[in-house]
Structure formats: structure tokens, C-alpha cells
Amino acid sequence: MTKAMTGARMVVQALKDQGVEVIFGYPGGAVLPIYDEIFQQNDIRHILVRHEQGAVHMAEGYARSTGKPGVVLVTSGPGATNAVTGLTDALLDSIPLVVLSGQVPTFMIGTDGFQEADTVGITRPCTKMNWLVKDTEKLSETIHQAFHVATQGRPGPVLIDIPKDVQFATGTYTPREKIKATHYQPKVKGDIDQITRLVEMMETAERPLFYTGGGVINSGPAASQLLREMVEATGFPITSTLMGLGSYPASGKAWLGMLGMHGLYEANLAMHGCDLMINVGARFDDRITGRIKDFSPHSKKAHIDIDPSSINKVIRVDVPIVGDVGHVLEDMLRLWKARGRKVNKEGLAKWWAQINEWRAVNCLDFKNSEKTIKPQYALQRLEALTKGMDRYITTEVGQHQMWAAQFLGFEDPNRWMTSGGLGTMGYGLPASIGVQVAHPDALVINVAGEASWLMNMQEMGTAMQFRTPVKQFILNNERLGMVRQWQELLHGERYSHSWSESLPDFVKLAEAFGCKGIKCSDPKDLDDAIMDMIRYPGPVIFDCLVEKHENCFPMIPSGKPHNEMLLGEDDTQGVIGAKGAVLV
């Protein structure tokens, strides 16, 4: 059924058609007609943020924890430019978002009108696709197409810029099912010859390894299930990138922990020493590979990715498989079973013996203290006290993020929301609100550093207004911890602007927002304080004062290969050369 309606009503109608339940936004002059329509309906919930960057990160948290696209509504000019960081973040982490922005009326475009910005120009490099809709007749079709593009293939953010006169004008609404198929139909089935080659290699490999990433999670829960089945059936060890945590359970037998710059010793050495690397939905990021020349020198590499441009971008692979992880894993498993479930048992036994030696190094070991709270200890306690709960974790960016990835265990996908590719400080607090909006009864904790957290702390107002009981677990070292660590290791301990002065009193800040503040500085009080946080029915700001100069280990310094990891302070003397210092 097609019918005539205003552009503004079309926006709301199209969102309903797409099954959108919640949008994150902030009103302004150029989106007033749309806000007027939102006012007149009750199907879609609107979460009023305090800053548009917060809206995009909330939508990311929502999307990452549900698998559904997140929807954002912002006004023209500053509303749109404030969304740019979030869009870039979503692009790098492949998060499906649909962002709607207002624009000055079409007849004013190009006149430097009030709150005018070239939004499609500015957001072109940070969206998967964007559109400026100049004709109301095309609006509903564009919105439906936008949802298709955001969610199909490698997911990503899209933006639709809607001039105000297009919102006021009347046009014909085209329902979702009436849209003609777009040519954008990325292929999901992998090439069966390549999959067969990979299965043959799996049957004979002596030292195989699964290296999995965010693609497994983006592919949906069924992909994680298939991955688990595959790992259990073959007995191959598995490691994952930061983005892929939870696709295989941390309690699983074959789990080696996260790999990469701050990954576990056993995971990185297994990457270096394997003879068959099966990359499932990861992208050989520079945090993972270290020095390219010495990256896993003795392995055959297979790469499963839905995005053909990810394959052979950084690392040349032997078996490229373009397709959706879930579909490819299904074919792999079916083929491998049909061919008699063969593995190289003898080789695998030796491989596991080797891995267990590496595990015995116990690389996450740290010197605990009875006087000050070590950040690692705080996370160990948080893990112990929240284990088994319906728990979602978000993080900010820095040392605390890496410790969270090392010390918290994820049993399921979609439970871990973190800014991986872009490394956006200020991501965690709004993301936690987005997660809580999607899962009102779950325990949602943002593991934060005080410096990151301050970047979007205004969103505590949003948390209060919409009664999202998010827990802000701030590991407060009064430092920009990761910057400080690099300055210590790479810049002669000259701590240029890497400490936080004039920090607020977080307990008073919590009171000012109307939520609960908890401060803890003694390891003996920590368990009770964490339980207080968990039990409190509303938002909590937890100021956990931790050791100020703790460094995050293990660490692969920039420009070094996997087998040159630093395990602790004793390893750090003079190891990072000028070449490494140039890299980030």
C-alpha cells in the first residue's frame, strides 16, 4: 500500500516498517518536523542524549549487543559534525548504524545558511554510504535502502541527510516490501573449492590455530555456535582479536585468550609458531600482526572474510575465502565431517604440549599489593563477583580496556562492546547506556579510565533521565595510563601532559547527577564496594583509585614480532628502538 504523507511522517513510518524500537537523538531547527512526528506516536522510543557523539556511541552499543542496526537522529551543521567520530568508530568496527541528519532547505544549500554544513561531503569517508535526499518522493525508498546497505555484507554506518523542506513536503510513501531490489547484494557463500582446500589442510596440519575476529560476532549467534562446534570437534586451539571476544567461550578448553599487542603470551606465540592459521572474520590489524615481515613466518594462512578488500590487504594469504563467516563455517564443518573428521592427532598432541608450556608462563601474573588496588586485581574481583550474571561490559580506551580484555571472561557473543579500530576515548559511557536500553534488566558495566570517562561524562544525564542503571567502574590512576606507559617506554620517561589534574570528586559528581557515587582505595574494601555497586538499582559512578604507575603487560612493542613480547617491567629496558617509536 502506498500513500501520500509528509517527508517527516515518512521518516517515522519507514523506521516503524524497519522494526526500529528506539532511536538516539538530539533535536534542532533542521529536524523539527521529524521531532513533531515523533511526538505524535508511541511505537518508537526516543532517547534524548546530551551530545550527538553520545547518540552515535549509544546506537553502537545498542547495535553491538543486539545485532540490530542502531538508529540516530541529529540536526544539521553541528549536530551532524558531532556525529562524525561515532560514524568513523562504527566504520572501523563494522557496526550497522542508520544516522538521519537534518539539513537546511534545498533552496538554501550552498549559501552558508545557519547551521549549514556539507554533511554528505564531511561524512563520505566515514560512512559505508550516504545520501542527500532532495525529493520527498525518494525519501522512503532511500531509508529502506539505507537499512539494507547498513546491515548487508560487511556492516557499517550509513547517513541520510534530509533538508527541512523535504521533511515538510508531501510525497508518496513506498513500503519496505515494495522497494525494488538493489544491486548491492554481497555474496555470503564461500567458494567451495577454496573451502575444500582449507579442509584438506586442516586434516594434515600439525600446528593449526583459529584466529577469530569481530566478523564472527557480526555474522550472528549461529556463527559463534558453529565456531564452537568446529573447535570442539577438531580440538584446534583458538585465539581472538579484541573485537571477537565472546564468540568462543573464555571457559572453553581450547581458548588461548586474546592475541595482539597486549594479548596473551600463549596466543601470540601460537600465532608465531602455527603451521596453519585459519583467520575467521578478522582483518590482520596492525595491533595483531606486529612487524609484518616476521608475522607467523611458518604458516599457511586461510582468511574467511565477507569483504574482499580485507583479503590480501596486509598479509598475503594462501586460501582466500570471500563469504559470510556463518555460511562458510557451515560448509567447512559439513565437508570436514563428510570426509571422515580427520585431524593430525600426533601433531596436535605435540602442539598442545607446546602451548601448555607457554601457558605455564602465566603471563597475566602481576605483583599484587595489600595497600593499593592494582587495576588487574580490581578486574579480577569484578570478574569473580559478576560471573554467571546476565552481564554486558563496555569499555573506554586505554590500559583499562586491555586489562578488561585480559581479565574478564566472555562466554557469549554480543556481551563485549569496545572501540577497537578507532580507539575512541569517550565510547564506553554512552555505549553502556545504549546496551542498557536494549537490555533493561541486565547488569551493564562500563570499565573506564578516568580520563576517557570524562570525555563524554555529560551522558550521565541521559542515564538518569531514562533510568538506565549503568555502572561506571572507573579505574582511576589520575593518569592517561596508556600514554604514560608509552612515554615511559619510548620517550625517556618524559611524562608530557599525561596526568589528570583537577579531577572532579567523582562521588560528588554522582550526587550532582542524582545517582550513586562509590569511592574505594583499599583492596580490603573492594569486594563490598563492588557488591554495593551491583546491588544499587540505579546508575553508579564507582571511583576505584588504583596504582598510578602500573604498566599493561604482556606487550609487543610497535615494530616487533610476536616472539619478542615484553612480559613485565624487567623486560622493558632499552628494547624499543627509534623505528618502533615512529609507529603508533
Binding site: 563520505r124 554510504m129 542527500l132 546497505v149 548491492y184 555474496k187 573449492d193 590480501n312 582466500p320
Partner: protein
């Protein structure tokens, strides 16, 4: 057909190209990119090149299918084999891109460029310019007593050669369209 049974010319084949990926030698490739003729698409394609640090030696674009709203962008680019493969993959995954053809890799192709040369001079050099124009099959499209505008079509190399010859004979200005290219055969 490639050894992997992937259709030649299909934009999805780039990940499977089996040339020596580690060759440090730069190659020049002519790519034909078929895109939806919508506003912003050209900017998106060019933005890919500037944003990822790829070269553009020449670029032409025009609508080639009015009813289907398709434009054809012809890009001449340079890079090592790995970079060329990456460029093709990056282009092919763009939402408004329908197809990418590597005319250099897919077999023989014809390339043509049109250029206009304004040459001013008198006496012997003017006659010499006209004589060379005849040899190069350039047309005179404007003339005064002291100048010619020549129109020439050909490969970029031919146009370069003509320009080199015109320079000492009073070359004032030139305009080039960039390369248009099609594969040979049906």
C-alpha cells in the same frame, strides 16, 4: 577464466589474482569502473584514492547508459601488483559501484585520449607545425594568421610525442581529456 574458475572481468576476482604479489615494480593499469550515476559517487571514488594514498594518472567520467543511470569512470593508476589488487577490491566493494574491469589485466584494450593544442608562430615554424600535425593526423579546428588549434586523438604516448614536437614550435596551451578505454573483441 582464471585457475580458480572465476569469471574474467568479474569484480569479485581480485582476491584471487595469482601474480607475484611481492613484486616491488610499479605497474600502470587502466580500470573501467561502472557506477550508479548519482550525486556524490565520483567524489566517493576519488576520495578512496586520496584517502588511501593511491595514484590517479588520468580520470574520465561520463554517463554511458542514460536509462540505467550508469556512468563509466576510466582511471589510469599506478602501483605494485598488491596495491593494484587492493584498489580494485576497494572499488568493487563500494555500494554504488556495479563493476570494476582491469583493462590492463583482462587482455588487449584500446585506449584513446583527445587533446587540443594551441600553437602560435609565424613563418617556417608555423609551416612545420602544420606539417607535423598532418603526420600525426591532427585536425586544425581553429586558425588565425598567427596561431592554430589542433585537435588530436590517440594513445597518451602519441599525444605526449605530439606535445614534445609542438613545444619548440610555439606551444601556448594544451587541454587533454584523459583516457577512455575499451577491451578489444566482442
Amino acid at each position: 577464466m582464471s585457475p580458480l574458475n572465476i569469471k574474467k572481468g568479474s569484480s569479485s576476482h581480485s582476491a584471487y589474482d595469482l601474480r607475484d604479489p611481492n613484486s616491488p615494480l610499479e605497474e600502470t593499469h587502466t580500470l573501467a569502473v561502472l557506477v550508479a550515476n548519482e550525486s556524490g559517487v565520483l567524489a566517493r571514488v576519488i576520495g578512496l584514492f586520496s584517502g588511501r594514498g593511491y595514484n590517479i594518472d588520468s580520470l574520465t567520467v561520463a554517463e554511458v547508459d542514460h536509462e540505467g543511470h550508469r556512468s563509466r569512470i576510466t582511471i589510469v593508476t599506478r602501483g605494485t601488483p598488491a596495491v593494484i589488487e587492493q584498489i580494485k577490491a576497494q572499488l568493487a566493494r563500494m555500494v554504488p559501484v556495479h563493476d570494476v574491469h582491469d583493462l590492463t589485466a583482462e587482455g588487449p584494450a584500446v585506449q584513446r585520449e583527445l587533446a587540443l593544442f594551441k600553437v602560435a608562430g609565424k613563418g617556417e615554424s608555423r609551416i612545420e607545425a602544420l606539417r607535423l600535425a598532418e603526420i600525426f593526423r591532427a585536425n586544425v579546428v581553429d586558425s588565425t594568421l598567427e596561431s592554430f588549434v589542433f585537435e588530436i586523438t590517440g594513445t597518451p604516448e602519441k599525444i605526449d610525442a605530439f606535445g614534445d614536437l609542438m613545444r619548440p614550435l610555439g606551444l601556448r596551451e594544451m587541454a587533454r581529456t584523459g583516457v577512455a578505454a575499451l577491451s578489444r573483441g566482442a
